[in-house]
C-alpha cells in the first residue's frame, strides 16, 4: 500500500495547500511518495523533500512540462501511478484538469473533491453544491482522487529530508501550447489560504464602490478579497476572486460577506468558514440567516463606519 501525491507548483515553489494535501495522504496507510513534475523545478523537489511524512520525492524535469499542461503530465503520471494504491491531487484547477485524464488512462473511476478519508476504500465528498455529503466506496486498484485541501490538517516539517529520485520524462504530445497567463490581482493575499476573507456581491453596485468600500476593510485584517459570480460577471473583480460551486472553496477563520444574497452556489464555497459575517439590507437574505454574525443595513453606510472603527 502506498500513495503518490501529485503536487502543484509554479516551478519555483510548492503551492501552499501542499501541506494539507499531504495531511490527506497521511490518513492512508503506507508510504507517501511525492511527484514533482515541471521544468527547472529542483527547488520545488527540495522543498517537497522536507515535508513531514514524505518517503521519497520523484522528480521529473523537462522543458515540455514547464507550463504544467495536462496532456503531457498525464503521460508520466499514468505510467508512474499504476504502481500505487492511491494517487492524490489537489481539487484545484490544476488537479481537476489532470486527475480525470490520468484516471481514464488507467481505466479507473476517479473520486472528486474528497473531504474525508475513512479507510483505503471509503471517502466522503460533497455533492449538489455541497448541500449533501456522500460516502462512496471505490474498489478500483488505483484510487485516483482530488482532495479539498481545506478539509485536512497540514503536515509539518520533517527532521530529515527525503531522497529525491529523478525519473525520466515522457513524450511531448505537441497538441497544446500555453500562449499567455493573465494574473489578475496579485496584490491581495492568496484567497485559498487567507485567514480572513472580505467578499463582495452584486449589492456593491459597481467596481468603483467594490474597491472603495472593501479594499480598506480588507486592509484592516490583511484579508483576501472574494466575490460572487454576479460580482465577477459585472467585472467588479477578476474570476480568480470567485468563491462557490464554480469558483474557489475557502475555509478562512473569518468570512465577511457584503451585499451577497447567499445563493446555494455561493454558500458551496464557504461552508468551511469558521465565523461568517453578513452585511445585507435584506433581513430575509439567506446569508443573513446563515451567518454567525448578521448586520442588517445599507452597506454604503455600514462598511465605511465599520472600517473606521476597526482602524482605530
Amino acid at each position: 500500500m502506498s500513495t503518490l501525491v501529485i503536487v502543484e507548483h509554479d516551478n519555483q515553489r510548492l503551492h501552499p495547500h501542499t501541506r494539507a494535501l499531504l495531511g490527506a495522504a497521511s490518513r492512508l496507510a503506507g508510504e507517501v511518495d511525492v511527484l514533482v513534475i515541471g521544468h527547472s523545478c529542483s527547488t520545488v523537489a527540495e522543498e517537497a523533500a522536507t515535508l513531514e511524512g514524505v518517503t521519497r520525492v520523484r522528480w521529473v524535469d523537462a522543458v515540455h512540462y514547464s507550463d504544467l499542461l495536462a496532456e503531457n503530465l498525464a503521460m508520466v503520471v499514468a505510467q508512474m501511478a499504476a504502481a500505487y494504491r492511491h494517487v492524490l491531487l489537489p481539487a484545484t484547477a490544476f488537479g481537476k484538469n489532470l486527475a480525470p485524464r490520468v484516471a481514464a488512462m488507467l481505466d479507473v473511476a476517479q473520486v472528486s473533491d474528497i473531504v474525508g478519508i475513512q479507510d483505503a476504500e471509503h471517502f466522503v465528498r460533497p455533492i449538489y453544491a455541497g448541500s449533501l455529503l456522500e460516502t462512496v466506496r471505490s474498489r478500483e486498484p488505483v484510487g485516483v482522487m482530488t482532495v479539498r485541501c481545506s478539509a485536512f490538517m497540514p503536515v509539518g516539517q520533517s527532521a530529515n529530508a527525503a531522497p529525491i529520485v529523478p525519473f525520466s520524462a515522457g513524450p511531448d504530445m505537441g497538441v497544446v501550447r500555453l500562449l499567455q497567463r493573465v494574473r489578475i490581482d496579485a496584490t491581495h493575499p492568496q484567497l485559498a489560504n487567507a485567514r480572513v476573507v472580505v467578499a463582495g456581491g452584486r449589492g456593491l453596485g459597481s467596481a468603483e464602490a467594490f474597491h472603495r468600500l472593501l479594499d480598506p476593510l480588507a486592509a484592516c485584517f490583511g484579508a483576501a478579497i472574494a466575490a460572487t459570480r454576479a460580482a465577477v460577471d459585472s467585472n467588479y473583480v477578476g474570476n480568480d476572486c470567485q468563491v462557490g460551486q464554480t469558483g474557489k472553496i475557502v475555509a478562512p477563520d473569518i468570512y465577511i460577506a457584503v451585499g451577497i444574497s447567499g445563493a446555494a452556489q455561493h454558500i458551496a464555497g464557504i461552508r468551511g468558514a469558521k465565523l461568517v459575517v453578513a452585511i445585507n439590507k435584506d433581513p430575509e437574505a439567506p446569508l443573513i440567516r446563515l451567518a454567525d454574525l448578521a448586520l442588517v443595513g445599507d452597506l454604503h453606510e455600514v462598511v465605511p463606519q465599520l472600517t473606521e472603527m476597526l482602524q482605530r
Partner: protein, 250 residues
C-alpha cells in the same frame, strides 16, 4: 467543421435536494429536471459557432434514460441540428459516459467536442478530461472564451490564478465555464419544431461498453447545520465582535 455537444439531465439548479429517508441516496423523485447549466452554455457556444459559419453541423448527445429526450429537444430548440440519445436505464458514472461518448465520437468524427465543465448534481467535473484522454485528444477545460481558426482553437481557461490562454490543435475536447456565454431562451416556434424532431436512439448495451458503476454510494447525508447566528444591533457591536475574533487569531 463539425461540433458534438454532450449534455446531462440533472435536478434543476434552483431546487434544494434531500437524502432519501433511508439515507442511501439522493431523493430526486418528482423534482423538476433540466439541462445541466454548464451544458446549456456548451450548447449555446455550438449554436453560435454554427451561426457564425465556423461550424457546419452541430450534433447534441445525451447518455441516460428515455427521459433525457426533453433536454435534447431543448438543445434542438436552441439551434442544434441533430440529436442522439444513448439509452441506458441504469445510472451512469463519468467513466462509462466518457466511454459511450468515445463510441459516438468515433462514428461522428467531430472536430470539436463541447461539454459543460461539471454537472451540478455529482459535481464531479471529470467526463470531458476522461473523454479527451480516451480519444488521445487535447483538452481545454473551464473555457471562458473560444476562438477557432482553421484546425486550431485558442481557449481562455478560468484557472485559480486568473486566466490562462492555450492553443489546442483540433480535434479537441473543450469544457465550458459559466462566463463563456449567456444561453438564449428558445423561441416558441423553435420549441414546437423541436417537439417533432426525430431523436436517434442508440441502446448503450449494444455498444459493448462496460457500463457498470465503479463507485458505490453508501450513504448520503445532509451537511451539519451551523448553529443559529446572532443579529447585531449596531455597527459598533459588529466592530467589537470582529476585533475580538481577530485578536483570538493572533
Amino acid at each position: 467543421m463539425k461540433v458534438l455537444v454532450s449534455i446531462k439531465r440533472v435536478v434543476d439548479y434552483q431546487l434544494q435536494v434531500r437524502p432519501t429517508a433511508d439515507g442511501l441516496a439522493v431523493d430526486t423523485a418528482g423534482l423538476k429536471m433540466s439541462m445541466n447549466p454548464f451544458d446549456e452554455i456548451a450548447v449555446e457556444e455550438a449554436v453560435r459557432m454554427r451561426e457564425a459559419g465556423i461550424a457546419d453541423e452541430a450534433v447534441v448527445v445525451a447518455c441516460g434514460s428515455a427521459a433525457c429526450q426533453d433536454v435534447l429537444r431543448t438543445a434542438l430548440a436552441m439551434g442544434i441540428d441533430r440529436a442522439v440519445l444513448i439509452v441506458a436505464e441504469t445510472p451512469l458514472q463519468p467513466l462509462a459516459v466518457a466511454r459511450l461518448l468515445k463510441v459516438l465520437a468515433l462514428r461522428e468524427a467531430p472536430d470539436l467536442i463541447l461539454m459543460g465543465k461539471q454537472a451540478i448534481d455529482d459535481d464531479a467535473a471529470q467526463t470531458p478530461q476522461m473523454l479527451a484522454a480516451m480519444l488521445g485528444w487535447p483538452q481545454a477545460t473551464f473555457a471562458s472564451k473560444i476562438e477557432v481558426t482553421g484546425m486550431q482553437a485558442n481557449v481562455a481557461r478560468e484557472v485559480d490564478a486568473g486566466i490562462e490562454i492555450v492553443q489546442v490543435s483540433l480535434p479537441a475536447v473543450i469544457s465550458a465555464d459559466l462566463r463563456l456565454n449567456t444561453p438564449r431562451f428558445a423561441s416558441l416556434p423553435n420549441v414546437m419544431k423541436a417537439r417533432r424532431a426525430v431523436i436517434e436512439q442508440i441502446p448503450a448495451e449494444g455498444t459493448g461498453v462496460d457500463l457498470a458503476p465503479r463507485l458505490e454510494t453508501l450513504s448520503v447525508a445532509e451537511i451539519p447545520t451551523r448553529p443559529q447566528g446572532v443579529r447585531l444591533a449596531s455597527v459598533k457591536v459588529l466592530a467589537e465582535r470582529l476585533q475580538q475574533a481577530w485578536r483570538a487569531l493572533q
